[in-house]
Each structure stands twice: as structure tokens, then as C-alpha cells.
Symmetry: C2
Subunit: 320 residues, 2 copies
């Protein structure tokens, strides 16, 4: 193991000797200009029934921006505006896998204006991602992002190799993987996806799940991802596991009632729900990812020299 230390020292020297900060310290020290405010229309707020001690249980989900999954994201906004989920429930909790919610009867009609989305939308073109990054940097900096060296895929990505094929990287604020032509979001802890039946175009967005275990990356490009839980995931991940097949609750009384799901922009006090994420195209994020892959804080004696995409979660926090 000690042979790793010279390599680490070399890396430190090559990178102009940053101090040995932990990943969290790098995030805390990052400038305000590296943080992107999340629009209230991109926040989905799920209020569950209070717990056994009468404490509120709120889960906040960030929806994905273009070019990812916008057909399903649009459906989800319609479902929230129609208050479709109010009175539905958490129906499935499978250990080391997913928590799933929606209409337990599977008979409730969805709004007529939902669109049918084809499986081709499970991924997007590289060009559409590059446009999205350029626009986002433009919004963030007031400068046309296309003129910035930050745009595009430069430098050695962390992680360098993805065991599922492709090149995985955090882009546009989200964990992604890509081929030479296409890019798609990946199933990390806390990601939210669209349940479906056997035909791949049958997921409307009414049935949702979130990952509560090791990243089930075999689902990438086989189910639509639409967002991630950014606050309150413990209200889902610590629920009793279902004892039925696939972790479904066997008795109706085991289900957790959903009081309401709303877009934050439709809530009376949306100003209380301000979140921001660390710009994945910033220098701060690059330093954070490098520190996740090469832990130099005092506890670590053998930095790995790498990390998988789901072990480099995009920092999200309450805006100050």
C-alpha cells in the first residue's frame, strides 16, 4: 500500500499542490459563483403522512433539465398540477433496491394530456448535452458558454473507466454515461425513475421510484430517470421493507399515505425551498471529484486513485 504514496505526491505536485482538503471542505470553500440555483419549477415536493411520532415527512425531488427525459418530466409536472398523487401511497420498499410510489389500485385514470414517450428518449445526443451545458454556463456567467473552454469534454475524466461500458461523468449537474454519440443519466443512490410495464413505452411518470441501495446500473437505458431526491430521502430509505414479492407491502395498512405532491412553484411558500447545486463544469467540482477519487484527508492511508460515478455525488444544498 505504501507504494501508492509516491504516486499521490506526484499527483499533488503536478496539480500545483492543492492543500489536502477533504471533499466536503473543498465544497464548503467553493465560491458562490460555482453554485447553480434550482428553479422552483424543477422541484417536486412530496408530503407523506406524519410519522408515528406525528413528525412531518417531506421529500424534495429535483427534476432533470433538458436534454434529459423531458417527455416524462412534462408528464410529472401535469400530474402534480392535477394533484393526481394526493391520496396515493408508497407501495413498495425493497432492501438495497428501490422505494416505489403511486396508485396501489393501478386503476386510477391519468390526465388525458399526458404524452406517450418512446424508449428512444432513454438517451440523448451528445450535441444536445453540449448545447445544454453551453446554455447553462451562459446563464450562470452571463457569457455565451460556447466560447468558454469549460464546454465540451476536456481532460481525463474521473472515473476513467465505467464497468458498464462508456465514459461516465457528472455533466450539467447529473451523473451520466455516454457512448460516442449518445449520453444518458445513470441509476445512482437517490435517483428517481419512472416505473413501467414490459413494453418500454408504458411508463407515464405516474408510478415513480427512487434508488435506496447500491446503484442498479443495469437499469440504465432500460427505464427513464427523471430526477433525484435532494432532501428527506431518509423518510423513504428507512421505511420498513415490504414482505411481498419485489418488496411490495402485502397489507393496505402498511402503505404510507401520500398527502400531496406539488411543484415548489405551485406552493404558497416556495421561497422557503431554495436549493442550489455545485456546477459540475466548475474548477471546484473538478477538485471535489479528484478528492473523492484520491482521499488525502488524514484518515486515509491508501487513496484509491479512482471512484465510480455514483461515489462522486453532485453536492446539493439549501441556498443561503
Amino acid at each position: 500500500m505504501k507504494r501508492l504514496f509516491p504516486l499521490t505526491l506526484l499527483a499533488l505536485t503536478a496539480q500545483a499542490a492543492p492543500p489536502a482538503l477533504s471533499p466536503g471542505e473543498i465544497v464548503t470553500a467553493s465560491p458562490a459563483s460555482d453554485w447553480v440555483t434550482i428553479a422552483p419549477s424543477d422541484l417536486l415536493v412530496m408530503d407523506l403522512a406524519s410519522d408515528s411520532k406525528n413528525r412531518p415527512r417531506r421529500v424534495v425531488i429535483q427534476l432533470m433539465p433538458p436534454p434529459f427525459s423531458q417527455g416524462w418530466v412534462g408528464n410529472i409536472r401535469l400530474l402534480a398540477k392535477a394533484r393526481w398523487w394526493d391520496g396515493t401511497s408508497i407501495n413498495r420498499v425493497q432492501d438495497n433496491y428501490v422505494v416505489q410510489w403511486g396508485d396501489a389500485s393501478e386503476k386510477k385514470a391519468v390526465p388525458a394530456d399526458l404524452v406517450k414517450v418512446l424508449e428512444s428518449a432513454y438517451s440523448s445526443s451528445i450535441q444536445s448535452l453540449q448545447r445544454g451545458v453551453a446554455e447553462m454556463i451562459g446563464r450562470q456567467t452571463g457569457v455565451n458558454g460556447r466560447n468558454q473552454t469549460k464546454v465540451g469534454f476536456i481532460g481525463r475524466p474521473i472515473p476513467p473507466d465505467d464497468p458498464y461500458g462508456g465514459t461516465s461523468e457528472n455533466r450539467l449537474g447529473w451523473p451520466t454515461n455516454r457512448s460516442a454519440t449518445n449520453v444518458w443519466p445513470v441509476h445512482c443512490y437517490g435517483m428517481v425513475g419512472v416505473g413501467r410495464g414490459m413494453p418500454p413505452d408504458t411508463g407515464s411518470g405516474a408510478e415513480l421510484y427512487t434508488v435506496i441501495g447500491h446503484a442498479p446500473r443495469h437499469l440504465d437505458r432500460n427505464i427513464a430517470l427523471v430526477g433525484r431526491v435532494i432532501e428527506g430521502i431518509e423518510h423513504l430509505s428507512s421505511l420498513p421493507r415490504g414482505t411481498g414479492a419485489l418488496g411490495f407491502y402485502e397489507k393496505a395498512e402498511e402503505r404510507v399515505p401520500i398527502r400531496s405532491i406539488r411543484l415548489a412553484s405551485d406552493l404558497p411558500r416556495s421561497a422557503d425551498l431554495k436549493f442550489e447545486y455545485l456546477l459540475t463544469e466548475s474548477e471546484s467540482f473538478a477538485r471535489y471529484a479528484d478528492a473523492r477519487a484520491n482521499r488525502r484527508d488524514a484518515f486515509f492511508i491508501s487513496p484509491a486513485g479512482g471512484a465510480d460515478i455514483c461515489n462522486i455525488p453532485v453536492p446539493v444544498r439549501r441556498a443561503r
Copy 2:
């Protein structure tokens, strides 16, 4: 995505066209001779206080065989025989990370016969692993494993690339990673490790944790792994998250009391605790790993062509 189908069909043809079974179906169909019985002396049985509905909560942990972590495993056997954990508690539950248990006061003296284990034991030589595999296959088949082609590292490993460096593979029944000279167990969901202070030789085995989230692989070779939870992990993973720093419970009454931790071989009814795991060096396991990496069951439209080591969990079941 459709371009993946020809590749998959090619792989099927090259592998003498196995039927499109799911990973679970392959495991169910595997012959009894591919299953290895777990010795009762390798099972650690943790009984927690009953839950709020007076239901028992039992967690069963499989301890690691040589060449892995035997100094700490020996200490754990001594601690169980001394009934050291009886009356201690679960003290920390951090979402997407770990559940940790031991003496909350941090003042309880450990038995005098525990050994101090150096950090050099975080990994083992490749030769010692090969000896272990040969001996295990010998026990399993009645034939000296060293004469079998199964021993050693043959074929293209799945996964081929490990983002943390090295070559990761399930070996001797456990998820491992290796360099050219050394091999070490890795931090997958459910793995059990030894808490320690800053100096890397300070973990005795009295303070233990298990992973309840995405694999924290940055801990590999930085903390000793000693086993994995093989039954009852839901009694740990669904506990309320601690609200203190690092997920520690802030109030004593939040801690979950541990009634006892024993080796199954020291329990009066150890015969009720028979488990077995799928031999990782068997053809059945190779087919299972391949099916995890290339999902061909009906639901999947885009098999990944790979999987990370922690998404190929070693099948463990109650022996029939």
C-alpha cells in the same frame, strides 16, 4: 441502443447459446454441488431488542475465511465468546453509508487476549488467495483443487475494469479487488467492517459497521473488512437515521439495544442456522455473473455489457 442487440446475439452464439435465464433463475437451477456450506463457527448471530411491535430482530453475519482479515476475525470470535457485546447498542445510522454498533461509552475494556493487527493485513498476497481457493475446491469436490483448471485467474473477468484501479472479481465467495501482487475484500452493500481511530492499527473488532448504501469503495484497504450480513440486514438498514454528526444517535434512548452476539456454533440450536453460498469458482457462478452483466430477461432492452463488482452479489441462501 438497438446496436447492442447484434453484440448480445453474438455473445449468445459464442457461449453455446444458453437460454435467456434471469440471474435468479440461473442460481435456482444450479446443482447442489456448486453450493458451499458455511460453517457455524463462521456465523455471527446478533439479536437486537424486539421492535415496537414486539417482533424479534436477528441479524446473521458470515465471517471471512483465510487469507482475509483473520487477525480481526479471531478477535471477533473472542469477543463473542466473552459475550462482550451483550448490552451494547447500535449507535450510528448514516443514510447511504453505514450502521455502526459497539460500546457507546467507548470505555468498556476489551478482553486481554485480543491481538493488535497491523494495517498490512488490509490485503493479502495473491498466492495466499490461490492456496485458499485450491483448498476450498478440494474440500468441496474431494479432489485436490490445485489440479483443477478452475483454480487461478482464467478468462475475461467480469467486471473487466475497476474504477478504483485493479481487477475486481468474486473469489473464494467474496467480492475482491487485486493488484499484480495483492488481493483485498471490497466495500459492497452489507459488508461488515472494523471501526477504528486515526491510527490504522487501532481497530480491534469490538466496534463494527455494515454498509447500507452505495458501495463506499474509498474505504477499501483503509479499514478492515471481516464479513457480510447474510440475513436480516433490513433490521439495520431500515432503522431511523441518526441526527448527530456522521449519523450518530444524539439521545441514549434512540440507540437500539443489542441483546447478544454469539457464534452460531455456540448457540444451543445452531442446526437451525444452516447457510450456503454459490461457489464463485463454479460454472454456475460464471453464468450468473454474465447474466448480471448482460441482462437478457424480457424486461431489458439494453443489456449493459458489464457490471461493477458490487452489482454481482454472491448468492447466499438457507441450506435445504
